[in-house]
Amino acid sequence: MTLLTIKNLSIEFPGRHGTERAVDEVSFDLSPGEILGLVGESGAGKSTIGNGIVQLLSAPGRVSSGDIFLNNTKISTFSSKEIIKIRGSRVGFIFQDPMTSLNPLFTVENQLVETINKNLGIEDRKEASRIAIDLLDQVGIPDPEVRIKQFPHQFSGGMRQRVVIAIALAGDPELLIADEPTTALDVSVQDQILSLIRKLCRERQVGCLLVTHDMGVIASVTDRVAVMYRGKMVEIGKTAELLTSPKHEYTKSLISAVPRSSKKIERFPLVEYIETTAKGLKHIDVKTHWLGQGTRHENIQDLLEIKDLNLSFVTRDAFLKKNRKYLQATSDVNLTVKQGETFGLVGESGSGKSTIARMVAGLQKPDSGSIKFDGVELVDNPDPVAVQQARLQMQMVFQNPYSSLNSRMKVDDIIAEPIQFHRLAPAQEIRTIVGDLLDHVGLGRAAGLKYPHEFSGGQRQRISIARALASRPRLLICDEPTSALDVSVQAQILNLLKDLQDELGLTMLFISHDLPVIRQMCDRVAIMRHGRILETAESEDFFEHPQNEYSIELLGLMPRFDKIYEVEATV
């Protein structure tokens, strides 16, 4: 018996420049209790399918052809009045970001009770409230009687997602559509939420359509998986089979681009299926080029030394100092980064890893401690010239390439700005240098005349890297440089960073929450939690023999794509 059948579904978005086909002739079906993964990169149309089922497409999107059956009822032709009856009561929805999917001005009780009122037809408030408490208990929220009276902002991200799941299940639906349910969550929380979804689906015999871009998530919870590429479904099959022996070229390259956590490889395999770098780029010889002739690198051992670094934020201000409450963002952090190595900082959100990067880059002033770069003290140094010289040699690549580039400036000007500001090259040579830099990061010099919005996420991150290189840095601080990017693009950017490091002898401080990426990129790692460094080790040692309890736990929770993949492959 099938719960959901989709036949030749096409969804279109009519626009000024013609109609865009977001979903193109997709067919699949789903049984009760089964979890079907929909995987693909951004723009593949996977979320659109989920929204299309219950007619939640944002205007002007519409289902142009095809049929959707829910328990043999054709729901694709339902009117908006009829579909409202389906939503919530027969189809539950879980969205990506639990921080924004709950209304901030209403209590959890209010939001649960209205759902129960509508979908179960229970008018009595007390009765609905009792059911709500029971639901919160089922999704694993401690003290549900107390927590139900609270507002969403009083819950942590993982707890909020549990509330969202409780609301999605409140109408006792047959089908659950989970749209990237764990993308905004930490690894440890992700694991809990995925197990919860899996458990609830099995127990209640609810079919689940799980939309995600993450192969690790697919591997750990789904029974079957459908791979989407540019609106088309290229492959569908049992998860283990599909991951071990993918048939379609796209699936193959997608799987190979996922960073492994099990062993270190030199370069990432590229997904050529999607995006290729520009052709006919001028090759520059770094040894003779301007780019390679920055400050001469003396062979010092430790380029960056951080000692007893402390920073706290006031979380609750009070008139009297003793009543104030602080959050210790970093406490007594000690670390050294050696010349030429890639040093990884790993930890979950709120562990203080980005705060360290910001303090090193001078964006945040520490309360106490010392940061030495090439022997120059950066904290409270009375000599501003020395500090500026040191800062010039460290540059940052930020997480979000959509907001870290000034959208009103041309790419040429963005990259030329640090060269002009620090007077690093004669004015007449700047344009040539900028062009060479753009060639070198794989964009091509023609890109310089465009504005940032004309580029994709991966290309923008290349621009960010070119901008960072423009001041000829010795230390590159990369704060989650690829977490906003698709897997295939991530592979390209990481390769680029590796190449640049080899050529220019760059030292990198690499911050990420993604353990497989860290393993591929870093020579040494430090693991952080609650502002403290728990363990610093050679990268290979850390992954093979973690010492700290938390490290062991974290490694165990890593997305299990490789595990399934490796085990099945050897059979």
Partner: protein
């Protein structure tokens, strides 16, 4: 909470200090008050004596100190014209102005929220487009022109409405005179209130519409739809409350500005409120009354803003007034 109020109190003191310095500056530079007070035939000697008794020959700082000292005790000087303490004069005129501002606020709230919400929900509807177009015109027409047009149409041509004054007023609680206790009073307040609201109304319609559009595109509205809520619940429960947060913040400031705008409305309609009084005081060079008015309005601004912040804190659970964040 106590800490929030304490902080606010300190702010009030600072703001009032700045305003008082400004007012004193005006007082000092607006010329010689004895010229207005004294008879034509007064000799120079008598005039000097008068200056001495008024303390006008003392050093500036002493005069300012005396000014602040009296102001703290509620003595903002004595009106030259009314021969009464300026504060008493203002308090007598206060009910008329506050009632006018209140009536205008009622008009703004009851019209702008439904219209703004409608324009956000049905942006392509002809009436939404019409409202948006009219609101641009509304913003660009000055208050006094609207007021004169209203008088011309409804009082002179049609003869339906009274053109000036408060009409029949009823004293309540001893000193407060109200328009809302009699039919005649209500009829008299309608046109001034419409004129006063005309400048703010288009702004609020646009504000409500813009905020509502933003809220409607948010994830929690989509989630509310996904969990099966019907459109009415989504619009008027989930979206509207969130829409009101920024509207309240802006609205609070605008109420203060509206009290200031009453100067124009009140003088066109001969409305015996603070604004009309201020205009007369300027004409008569009644300097103590002018400064008292400025200080009083400044005080009113700060109080209204504090109330708005408290209200905001009540509606938004994420604002914790206790910790001052």
């Amino acid at each position: 909470m106590a800490q929030f109020l304490l902080k606010r109190l300190l702010q009030v003191i600072l703001v009032m200090f700045v305003i008082s310095a400004f007012c004193f500056g005006i007082q000092d530079s607006l010329g010689d008050p004895t010229r207005e007070l004294a008879a034509m035939s007064m000799s120079d000697e008598e005039r000097e004596n008068l200056k001495d008794t008024l303390g006008l020959n003392d050093p500036l700082l002493v005069q300012y100190g005396r000014f602040v000292g009296r102001a703290v005790q509620g003595d903002l000087g004595t009106s030259y014209f009314f021969k009464e303490p300026a504060l008493t004069v203002i308090l007598k005129k206060l009910p008329a102005t506050l009632e006018l501002a209140f009536a205008a606020s009622i008009i703004i709230i009851t019209i702008s929220i439904p219209l703004g919400v409608f324009c956000a929900i049905r942006p392509r509807h002809w009436f939404a487009k019409f409202t948006m177009a009219v609101s641009v015109i509304g913003i660009s027409i000055p208050v006094f022109l609207t007021a004169l047009a209203l008088i011309f149409i409804f009082s002179i041509t049609l003869g339906w409405m009274p053109s000036f004054g408060r009409g029949e007023i009823v004293e309540v609680w001893g000193y407060w005179s109200t328009n809302f206790a009699s039919w005649d009073g209500i009829v008299h307040i309608i046109m001034p209130a419409i004129a006063l609201s005309s400048i703010m109304l288009p702004l609020f319609i646009r504000l409500v519409r813009a905020e509502m559009l933003e809220v409607l595109s948010s994830e929690y509205v989509k989630f509310a739809r996904a969990k099966g809520m019907d459109s009415l619940t989504v619009y008027f429960k989930h979206a509207l409350k969130n829409t009101m947060l920024p509207v309240i913040t802006v609205g609070g400031v605008q109420i203060g500005i509206m009290v200031a705008y009453t100067i124009l409305t009140e003088s066109v309609f001969q409305w015996p409120g603070m604004g009309f009084m201020f205009l007369e005081a300027v004409n008569r060079s009644d300097i103590p009354l002018i400064t008292a008015y400025i200080m009083f309005v400044g005080f009113l601004f700060v109080i209204v803003n504090t109330l708005v912040d408290l209200l905001y804190g009540l509606i938004n659970p994420m604002v914790d007034l206790v910790s001052g964040k």
